[in-house]
Symmetry: C2
Subunit: 323 residues, 2 copies
DNA sequence: CGACTCCTTGCACATATGTTCACGGCTCTT
DNA sequence: AAGAGCCGTGAACATATGTGCAAGGAGTCG
């Protein structure tokens, strides 16, 4: 009865699975597991690490339904957005905040993305940080699509965005649709023309059918500028134009004012990010924000109705609701 | 902005939640968490224990879809039943097996039961063991219903079954419908009459509308008899009658033969367990089996089509498929 | 008001877990 | 076939975690 071609999965994975079951479900000690698996305790420790890292073990925090914190409730009331406020000590630096928020988001993202879905993803420091911590989740027929071009005048800029997106597609086993265009065209007409290309139409169609969008907000005029503002994507003149137009931030390099409006912001005609109307049509729109410097930009994005789910560190959340 | 009546949940729970988030999601050390929470490391350790015990932290093992073990596949092929084979060392005693299987089932049961559902539960050593390890899960408007009476000739036997069922209803916050009748009536006519009572009709109706049923199998003729066979529920004469009728086991004190048939087994006319047809109409029917002594009985239950999901220790699973 | 219980806390110790390192078995060269 | 590099292993060490215990604080009763 024992077939020779036994396991369709590697011994190692299978052992990791057993170890995880014994450790996390049956509460055995690693020592005991080592005995059952005829190996050393160290190896069990390593097996379990692997099991966690590869997503075999799924640890979730399930707040009782009455648990949303005061701040989360305030945000829900005021902006009709589901907030996930992440505890971060007040004395943490902005880098710490970003890292910790990114870790949390990376861990929970699997909850939002599944087989047969399309997820649109922006790029930037925040997405970069998130991408570095993703725990893998197996999906089938899933698709990831880049939200906006990443080329700039200095380099193609493709590597940076590319790497980020690839980490996502690897973690979820999803196909990846890249967006090999500059972040901003020089001439709006070029964009219009390019958008008619067949390859592009496929990408734009995917964007139109996204199930989830994942992005942060850019804050061009804060003390801690987003990647896009220091990476050679904008020259001084353009920068000034944004300022003059009353811009407070962007999502996937689409700019908006404090009231959420976008009309008459010249750079948007040349940018490659999705129309905000396209974004708003996406059922789930996850925004990740770390650091108080992004608050003004975040307010604009909220005013524009771009967000359905917000991941935010505690300090910034408090700054947002002003308490 | 800070309301005085801040949290609708206790500080302790809220701290536990924060600690869990920091520990399991953000990978902080307990020492670090202690600092953020302004308490001692010990207390954090205790908070985390509480968080796990109270179901705030949910740890699942997600086998990749290609993971089912060889034995699980064999069982699926042969019996059309989803098996969850639990690793237990071969040298483990039957008591160990039961304990470890029960622990696993208790931990995963939340996956099968949710708000607005009705779960039918039997009683016996196996259910007792499971009930002792349940991790709580909040549900609304959920209902638990006892599958069969627990009174016997020596005592009411109510306490035993009662306690088991109450553990389930507590863990899930579910209403509990008890079944305060003997396990077997002396006279079939009494049962028929009693079944027409209004209180009973409500219970029977619930049984008819169950979403999940949870039970083990009894093995009257094995070396390790189930609770029902040592607790004074059956006298010698009845026992012999079962043997003569070719009975191999029972589910919720409804007896069946090796081929799954039940016709002409006299005791069934006086028993209080659900008609097997009622059971078979239940969408999800979870059977928990530990110990090889139950294999024959389990085969009968499988032949009778009583099971959709089987939790079983590895040794017994191997005995079942005979390899 | 004090004596009592009950619960919580942090310390100190006992365990359990994570990580470094040197070794040995592989495969792939040459 | 010998050598070089590349894992994977377990022993030993370094950390992190769990727990018994004594002390202290809040509530209750006489």
């Amino acid at each position: 009865m024992i077939h020779p071609n036994d396991p369709p999965l590697s011994d190692r994975t299978s052992d990791a699975l057993t170890a995880a079951q014994l450790y996390y479900v049956q509460d055995l000690t690693m020592e005991a597991i080592a005995q059952e698996l005829h190996t050393s305790r160290s190896s069990v420790s390593r097996l379990l690490s692997q099991a966690r890292a590869s997503g075999l073990v799924d640890i979730q925090i399930r707040s009782p339904l009455d648990a949303p914190s005061r701040v989360e409730k305030l945000i829900l009331d005021r902006f009709q957005v589901t907030a996930h406020v992440l505890p971060v000590p007040d004395y943490a630096s902005d880098v710490d905040r970003l890292e910790r928020v990114a870790l949390s988001v990376a861990r929970i993202l699997g909850e939002f993305f599944d087989s047969n879905m399309i997820m649109g993803i922006a790029w930037g420091s925040t997405m970069n940080a998130v991408s570095r911590h993703l725990t893998p989740k197996r999906t089938h027929n899933a698709q990831i699509v880049q939200l906006n071009g990443a080329g700039n005048t200095r380099s193609t800029g493709l590597d940076y965005a590319n790497e980020i997106l690839r980490r996502f597609s690897n973690a979820f086993d999803a196909r990846l649709e890249q967006f090999p265009v500059p972040t901003f065209f020089d001439d709006p007409a070029t964009r219009t023309a390019y958008w008619r290309e067949r390859g592009l139409r496929r990408l734009l169609e995917m964007q139109g059918n996204m199930d989830v969008a994942l992005f942060s907000v850019g804050s061009p005029f804060s003390m801690v500028p987003s990647h896009v503002y220091v990476g050679g994507y904008l020259d001084d003149e353009e920068f000034t134009a944004l300022s003059d137009a009353g811009v407070v931030g962007d999502v996937a390099t689409v700019f908006y004012r404090a009231d959420g409006s976008t009309d008459g912001i010249p750079l948007n005609d040349r940018g490659t990010g999705p129309e905000l109307s396209v974004l708003r049509r996406t059922p789930r729109r996850i925004c990740v924000v770390a650091g108080t410097s992004k608050v003004d930009s975040l307010r604009g994005a909220l005013a524009a109705g771009l967000i359905t789910d917000l991941f935010i560190d505690e300090g910034t959340a408090r700054a947002l609701v002003g308490s």
